[in-house]
């Protein structure tokens, strides 16, 4: 059980390209023999993908909140008015 996250760490190093050349060789040999390991590599890549999407979604929420403040808070009044004037139909 102690080696579980070691393997995950090895998969990470392999995916991110931070493993040493000899480690890569060994790992690729294991991949040929171990279908489960291959599946783990695939799902771990998807996991990184999901994390990135989650990160973007959170960041977008932060930016939306900031935008809201910039266009409604009295502190930013001169900024928001300047922008709104740009879109006013004359």
């Amino acid at each position: 059980m102690t080696t579980s996250w070691n393997e995950t760490q090895q998969i990470e190093a392999y995916i991110f390209g931070t493993a040493q050349p000899d480690e890569i060789l060994l790992f690729e040999a294991k991949l040929l023999l171990d279908e489960e390991l291959t599946n783990k590599v695939i799902t771990q890549k998807k996991a990184y993908d999901a994390i990135r999407q989650f990160g973007r979604k959170q960041l977008k929420l932060e930016i939306e909140a900031l935008q809201q403040t910039l266009f409604t808070h009295p502190k930013h009044r001169s900024f928001s008015q300047k922008i709104i004037r740009l879109f006013r139909k004359s």
Binding site: F54, I63, L66
Partner: protein, 184 residues
């Protein structure tokens, strides 16, 4: 060193939400008027300007944080990216589609499967996902992760990080069995 460089440095050092807000406010005020002016002159709407500028900020954040490389011209990057995005999304009648050589690593549209997967992941382990996001997306250090999430140190944070990653990986696996059938 400009004000912007300083806040950028703070962001890289600490990655705290507050610094990020300060930086984004600064960038917003400096770059958005140019973008808004450009779009309004071409008959676009304020909402369109806001929409593309949001994505430009995300692209900027990923460019700078993920590659750990401050840009020479932050404002130019933001303005260029936002203009290009607007032309692509809204400016179909425009003749001079001179898409500059801006490297846009862009928020692609999420496929239905990924957004569904996503909801599932959030239920499966929101705290894990938050922590993994801090590490992989915001590039916080293990020490910062330890401080933020209450682990004893970088070593303990490392173990937790991989355990969480395994949880998410298991969710991905479980979920893919369900929807892969009708996605392809």
């Amino acid at each position: 060193m400009s004000i912007n460089d300083i806040s950028m440095q703070q962001l890289i050092n600490s990655n705290r939400t507050m610094d990020r807000q300060e930086l984004f406010t600064n960038l917003y005020k400096r770059a958005f008027p140019t973008v808004a002016g450009y779009i309004s002159r071409r008959g676009g709407k304020l909402d369109e300007a806001k929409d593309v500028f949001q994505d430009a900020l995300i692209a900027y954040y990923e460019q700078v944080i993920l590659t750990d490389s401050p840009l020479n011209n932050d404002i130019g990057y933001l303005v260029g990216t936002a203009k290009n995005l607007w032309l692509k999304r809204y400016g179909q009648s425009n003749q001079h589609l001179s898409l500059d050589n801006v490297d846009i690593a862009l928020p692609t549209q999420e496929s239905p499967s990924s957004s569904r997967l996503f909801r599932f992941l959030e239920i499966a382990g929101h705290k894990c996902l938050e922590m993994l996001k801090s590490f992989y997306y915001d590039q916080m250090s293990l020490q910062e992760i330890a401080d933020e999430y209450g682990y004893s140190g970088p070593r303990s944070a490392t173990v937790q990080k991989f355990k969480c990653l395994e949880k998410i990986r298991a969710s991905v696996k479980q979920k893919s069995l369900v929807y892969d059938d009708f996605m392809e």
